[in-house]
Subunit: 304 residues, 2 copies
């Protein structure tokens, strides 16, 4: 079982190296991340974008991009489509957003004919290492699905379980988060949590232990759950935090980074390949961890 982000790095070093294609490689931080990943033996890279701008960026920051092939594109839309096509052609195993708009990037990924659709829901899975918490925490979906339905929550969970599987978490504990532990008609998050718990109990959702509604304190702290009189196999031991909507998930995500000083790796699941969609504000380290996570998924995940 993997307990730190660094263990993900270690587990992907010096194995078969998937090729990460960067859509819009004209970005210092992204270049640094792929260079380091290549040096560590985690991944190779294709740099899609304007060749002169990519070379200038590398030159200005003294970055050695000689290990990488540059794939010229005419604009950011073209960069996105080219990156996707390298995956569909089997030349690349991972696609990563660089200096292109998220909307442009996702449009290319989600394209019905030429994109990376599989029929499964696309969702973001974030892994967090937070000081004082001795295991990795998975949050989903904090970045793609705005206000998922119950059915979409099931798909989000299945995507998250694909990540916990490569993290060797044998029977992941899933907390379906809400503001309270009681089921309340007025709070849809609690209703869906109750339903998902029961579906798990009935064997409709396998390979994990689901409990909810749980507030975050109960998901993270056994003592808090005991104080509240909540008996739960998930309390204090949650591996996966299933959030009701993008705001709730995003605040938790950012709080883990900006208040609790944690680190993160993230990947978009549901596509034909792992998709890396880091934010400009993410740290350099976080971008590297995300590449390593995508590599691990590419090597050990369901990607054929």
């Amino acid at each position: 079982m993997i307990n730190t982000l660094n263990e993900i790095l270690e587990k992907t070093k010096n194995r078969e190296k998937p090729v990460v294609t960067i859509a819009g490689a004209e970005d210092e931080e992204i270049l640094r991340a792929i260079i380091e990943a290549q040096k560590l033996g985690i991944a190779n890279g294709f740099l899609v974008g304007n060749p002169e701008l990519i070379k200038n960026t590398a030159y200005l920051h003294s970055l050695d991009i000689s290990p990488f092939e540059i794939v010229p594109s005419s604009d950011t839309e073209d960069s996105s489509h080219l990156a996707v096509s390298l995956v569909t052609e089997g030349k690349s195993q991972i696609v990563m957003k660089g200096q292109v708009l998220t909307s442009t990037f996702l449009k290319a990924i989600l394209d019905k004919d030429k994109g990376l659709r599989t029929g499964r829901l696309f969702s973001h899975v974030g892994i967090f290492e937070v000081p004082n918490i001795k295991r990795l925490l998975v949050i989903s979906d904090a970045a793609m699905n705005i206000s998922p339905t119950l059915k979409e929550k099931v798909d989000i969970l299945l995507n998250a379980l694909e990540v916990t599987r490569v993290l060797d978490i044998e029977m992941p504990k899933v907390a379906v988060l809400a503001a309270v532990e009681v089921v309340s008609e007025n709070m849809p998050a609690t209703i869906d949590a109750a339903i998902l718990s029961k579906m798990n109990e009935r064997g409709q959702l396998k390979g994990c232990i689901i409990d909810g509604p749980l507030a975050l304190d109960c998901a993270l702290s056994k003592e808090a759950a005991e104080h509240k009189g909540i008996k739960s196999k998930v309390a204090g031991e949650a591996d996966v935090l299933l959030v009701p909507d993008i705001e709730a998930g995003n605040f938790l995500y950012k709080s883990f980074i900006y208040a609790a000083r944690g680190e993160t790796a993230g990947v978009v699941m549901g596509a034909r390949s792992p998709v890396i969609l880091t934010s400009r504000a993410d740290s350099h380290q976080s971008k590297l961890y995300s590449i390593a996570l995508a590599t691990l998924l590419s090597l050990e995940g369901l990607y054929a």
Copy 2:
């Protein structure tokens, strides 16, 4: 300007002591908090509940409750109503939930005839001291209003500003939080954020600087905002975090405590007196801070 929870304690010591009435005082933790508040010269107390149970609780834990008057009640509903009536009769200035159900307690507070209604919206205001963040952060509403409308968000903000006023924050910076910084039709939180920002610009909401939509990273970190190219007077300096709904607020609240190891004080605003509504899982220290905050509001707030 008050920057730590301890400064709130200091600012309330040895002044006029308001009387905190505890609805359901048969609880060790609550008794400890009021005893300490009394010793520090922050508040006096009325203990409403079953006199024998209160005395037994004190005896079992060697707590000296001799400074306090016990007000006998027949059950928890009666405790709640009695506590409220002590405030309406002017004998007490603050009411605090003890060993009674939140729903029972709030029913008494919100009672149309005998409750503490003022015509203003009731909302929870939480203050957080988080390691690594050099100022207090106010979150609202993380506990009472489930999915507030725009109008309710205005009222929630006004209640929060009443708290920042007694904290001597002269021109509080308010981040209206969302998952992103762009206004998106698909994300109601961003729409309300845009509207509230403009209302502030037009002078319809005074005494603060409002900006939103802002994601939490931009609210807390100037660097994150710069990375994203966001220019905002609030970025990196937010005092108030206005959240879109109870889940998003609650996750942030709990994350500040259970992941970032922060401390909190909380109060319900909008009533005829400050209302203290701590959770069983709150620390002893947090209960004391909440009493101090309520005292400060009672001494320097708008309560006539």
